[in-house]
């Protein structure tokens, strides 16, 4: 219901800033958050796997630094003007000291394990809600965006560890309005701009589906966070009201 514990992103290595030639393209790709590139920044390499039309990709390739591990999955040309937001993509890829690779993945597919979600809600200090209701709420949400951390073991035989580290969901009438609820990021992953990216990608996905009115209710401490994402409180004096709130 409310947004809690999403710390305003610090200036620490924001996902979307990087050295780059080709400013115009930069802006467009920045907004899309879909960018495949490799950068050497100490031990952190940031990749974003991207599904692009071949022509578009060609046009920006020259401006990018690429390394061999970059993955570009190209789709057949779409009829839409704008490239569609892929359902799942890598936001960050880090190489850890032990050689393991950690990827942070955004997905709008809504594949959430309710037990994982409950554990995450516990971590941010939210009151417990019945699992069955959590499951129903997710099922009835128009869009559920998630952040997962996948840790790929350095051992050749070692498996992957997948962890839910963030979620946001939106309810909607599929035509005009959408409301974002339950934005949360694991405290140990806060401060990196993940909450920002989570919300930005939900917004982008909603706008692509032509849902023009995107709303939410923000605790006073996070009003600024959302203002920086493009939300306006009380536009034209319109007030959020609650029926007999428990406050």
């Amino acid at each position: 219901m409310l947004t809690h514990n999403v710390v305003a992103p610090s200036s620490l290595c924001p996902i979307v800033s990087f050295d780059f030639q080709g400013q115009q393209v930069y802006d467009k790709l920045l907004f899309a958050h879909n960018l495949n590139y490799g950068l050497d920044r100490g031990g952190i390499r940031k990749h974003k796997s991207l599904r692009l039309r071949a022509g578009f990709w060609e046009s920006i390739k020259s401006g990018l630094l690429k390394d061999d591990t970059t993955q570009v999955i190209e789709t057949s040309p779409e009829s839409q003007e704008e490239e569609p937001l892929p359902e799942e993509f890598v936001l960050i890829e880090k190489t850890q000291p032990d050689g393991a690779i950690e990827q942070i993945i955004f997905s709008s597919g809504g594949d959430v394990d309710v037990y994982d979600l409950q554990a995450l809600c516990d971590k941010v200090g939210w009151p417990r809600r019945p699992l069955s209701k959590l499951a129903a709420a997710l099922k009835n949400s128009y869009m559920v965006g998630t952040l997962h951390s996948i840790r790929k073991s350095p051992e050749p035989e070692g498996g992957d560890q997948k962890k839910l580290i963030g979620m946001a969901r939106a309810t909607s009438d599929h035509a005009f309005n959408a409301t974002i609820w339950d934005v949360l990021v694991d405290p140990s992953y806060q401060g990196q701009g993940l909450g920002k990216t989570l919300v930005e990608n939900i917004i982008r996905a909603l706008l692509q589906r032509d849902i023009g009115n995107i709303t939410l209710f923000a605790d006073s401490q996070v009003v600024e966070f959302y203002r920086n994402l493009g939300f306006e409180p009380d536009p034209e004096g319109i007030k959020g009201m609650f029926w007999y709130p428990k406050f």
């Binding site: 309810t171 599929h174 939410l216 009003v223 203002r227 306006e232 029926w243 709130p245 428990k246």
Partner: protein, 193 residues
Amino acid sequence: MLLRGIISSPLPSSLRLKTHKNLTVSAQIKTQPTTASSNNYTISDQALESRGFVLRRTIEELNLDHLNSVFVAVGFPKRDPQKIRVALENTDSLLWVEYTKTSKPVAFARATGDGVFNAIIWDVVVDPSFQGIGLGKAVMERLIHQLLLKGICNIALYSEPRVLGFYRPLGFVADPDGIRGMVYSTRKQKKKK
């Protein structure tokens, strides 16, 4: 049953909805049976019927062009009826009042949400020619009741400044505990980059 969703946690004393002499809905009432029956509201279903108004809860007999006219009459932008249809089909709860004489909708309200925790009420309208006689209140009371019956206890809405006084007596509070309603503005997006 009625307030099961609310009763699950401690309630402030302000949770006492006096809508009519015969009804005091409060936290203590756990055993009172709840049916969406006519006697629980400020104006009963029968009273409405006797005045020529029928309450409807489905979109089956709702003429969307007529509904659109009501929207336009109260100042909403005119919307594509097809989109309105999609919106209504994906709306959890809705209520409208049909004026028997013309078979047209004269009041309307709907709520979207996740069906368990949260609901937002949208598009609350009363045809200007029928305002001031309690139809808006009638629709709102029943819509809220419907949501409560589902166990949804977080009911919210966005109110234009001039109708805050309509929602307050119904039990709505603006910015409780500093919570602000926020809307995404596409105009501002370009500035941020």
